[in-house]
Amino acid sequence: MPSWNTIVITSLLYVALLFCVAFWAEQRAKRGQFGWIRTPWVYTLSLSVYCTAWTYYGGVGSAARSGLEFAAIYLGPTLTFLGWWLVLRKLVRISNEQRTTSVADLLSSRYGKSTSIGVVVTLIAVLASTPYIALQLQSLSLSFALFSDVGTQPAQTAFWIACGLAAFTILFGTRHVDANEQHYGVVTAIALEAVVKLVALTSVGLFVVFGIADGPTDIFARMPDPELLSAEVFGPRWVTLLFLSATAVICLPRMFQVAVVENVDERHLATASWAFPFYVFLISLFVLPIAIAGMTGLPSDANPDLYVLTVPLGAGNGSLALLAFLGGFSAATSMVIVAAIALSTMVSNHIIMPLWLRSAKKSPTASGDVRHMLLFSRRASIIGILALGYIYFRFTGGSTALASIGLIAFLGVAQLLPSIIGALYWRGATRTGAITAVIAGFAVWAYTLFIPSFDGAFLLPPEVISNGPWGISLLRPQQLFGSEFADPLVHATVWSMTVNITALVAVSLLSQPSALEQLQAKLFVDVFNITADRPAIALQRAAKSEDLFELAQRILGRETSWRMFTDIARSQGKHSGLPDPTAELTERLERALAGAIGSASAHAMVSQIGGHGTVSVSELMRMADETAQIIEYSNRIEEKSRELQETASQLRHANARLHEIAEQKDAFLSQISHELRTPMTSVRSFAEILRDGDDLEPEQARRFVSIIHEEAQRLTRLLDEILDVSVLENGKAQIEKVPVSLNASIEQALAATEPLMRRAGVQLIHASGPDITVSADRDRLAQVLINVLSNAVKYGRGQPPAIIVQVSRDRDQVQVTVADNGPGIAPDDQEKVFEKFTRLQHQTLAGSAGLGLPISREIMRNLDGDLTLDPNGPGASFRITLKTYDENNHTL
């Protein structure tokens, strides 16, 4: 048996070796010579931090008590790693993208960079891990005590071990504040410890199988009770253990630290997917043989949890026992170191930093050195966590409560699982939902498993545990609502997970996520779709580059910040000076800071400088609104322009009409001056002859005077017509509507035009029908009829000329058609005949200025009728429309 001194000196030498390895790796990494430090093998070995002293020693103990049950603790992680493609790969990708520093940071970042969820997760992690750390201290002090020939104080041993671990952790865990929180020194030392663990346990196993026994057949033949391997063990507890251990690989802070945070290359995960299961396979391969050897070869009162040490000792193999001791020492120390790093990061990033930020209230660039503050808080946290573990060990050490704490801790951190899975796969999971789920699940865990595990020594007295609070049996902690589970662990797992998942789903569905949460949810859930080309979604913030640089320097250090900012400036195309303060710069800086101080604190710090991001839901809605408005505007403009086009075309049309009318006016003026000039000329010349001609014969003079009279009359008529048009058009004409006999009016007009027709030899075709009383002005109607008839005589000119006058009636409408058999009117001219001063083909006929038809039409319109040209007639066919006289209509 190795002496106490040998054990102490070996331990110290081993620790010195670890220090050297860690220091050497750290130095190499610093120079950029990573070599095999960054290989998948080191990564895989560092994962072995899963195998703590509890599994190293306790696995054999468990095998001695319940057979293959111990295998579940290793098969769970095997399942998780076999399924790396599903969960771990996504987790690692997200963590690399978001620079996640811990499991609390992951959840805080996903749920809107929330400080509160970070605090909750950190507290839970510390609460669940402290007993676990105490357990490691206990197993270390127990194993030391085994070798001591003098009476050692376990508390004292544990104290010095805790101090040594704190020193190592502070030295290599908080050497610097990095943008990606990776500790090459620690990881390499852990990898070395992993090898020691494996070699130690395998050596003991080989010694048992081939040294003590005679091969595998012999060792299993020695099995004291065949019932140990019965099917009994594969019950609900087996399923629960598989679930908890599979979960623990992701949720345990130290496992998250080595598997996710310390991962430098996603491809390492692919190697670890089979190599880590192989490692735990090898670890568990000899557990059962060692247990059998312990049960058969050692006194029955020997502690099965120490068989790994006592079996070689019992066989007199001191050096093998020393190796086994080093394996257990490695298992315990690696767990404590990594757990302390992970927990201190969480405590300092999620509890101390936010508190400090809040209390500082001033700009973080102006107040002290953040780096210094950060390192100090990390170191203080490490000491605090180890102190907590030690205190816990002092108060509960040796009790059975501590032995079962491993699985209790597993279930404690498993309360984070639903929120993690929700974070990765369900965009609808909200911050409120996650906080509620974690707190509710944790509360059920504490009530049903953690507190009862003290057997009434802590918070709940024994009678409450057996009878329920206030005697309410439905609330018995280990038979909640009367549920009967043989195993308290299974009972607590079922209840806490049910409550946890229900709370997450229900509260998430009922609560509203903030804009930042939605943004982060997208970045998390769709990480594989958006990694290739980063999305353009970024918070728009207004910060000065100088301030951002100052902040980066305070936390990341001058050199790192300078490199990062130069990099960004170069990518922006600037060759000197600081980069422009774009959204991309702030976002990149925030991520880099998140790698050091956690996303929530990084977000808070950058926001303190640059103001909070402006992508709020209302903002998004406003942007959507703006788009809608722009669309509406453009629609309106289109409509306007269409209207304008229409108006323009109308104006063009009107303009053309005006041109035409102006031309007509010109034509009229020349026409009218000509018309007026002709009679005026004759009047003047005859008047001159009369004035100068003293020798004129009286008869000749009388003839001249009568010509002057006729010409004057003609002039008067012409002026009357012009006057008539303007009066009618202005609507000032007084036309009364009285009952008029249509036949009488036609007869009157025919009589008036009869001489004209006879002179032209026109044949009149008219059959007067039954008399119709129309509403009209007798004289005006006659005037219209005469005008139309005389036009027909003047322009008809058929061979032989004929004029047809017809009357037809359609209810209260009467039509009088006057048609000739002449050449008719060309279609182009059909509208023009009703225009003033128009005479077709510029024919001039004495006594007309071309105003007859326009005047007639105005008269008819004033009589509520019309005068139109029938375009279908063989010759010119004018239609006069009239209303029949109606008493009622008239009185109205």
Binding site: L68, L75, L79, G83, L86, F220, F234, W238
Partner: protein, 77 residues
Amino acid sequence: MSQQEDIPRARKRRYDGAVILPIFAAFLILPPFIKLFAAPVTVFGVPLIVVWLFGLWLALIIIARHLAHLLTQPGDE
């Protein structure tokens, strides 16, 4: 030509395999199935359940290794 068409299909099969493997493994080590092997039978002196559990474990590791190798081939991301 046919080889080029086969590549995405082969890759799809690997992805499917990566998803199915843990589910399949869980089925094999969960109660109704694993209880079949907990019989008092020995294989070369070693209890059947021990041989089955560790043999299965090793087989899963070998499949996982093969799959990880396929999944990390260049151009597979």
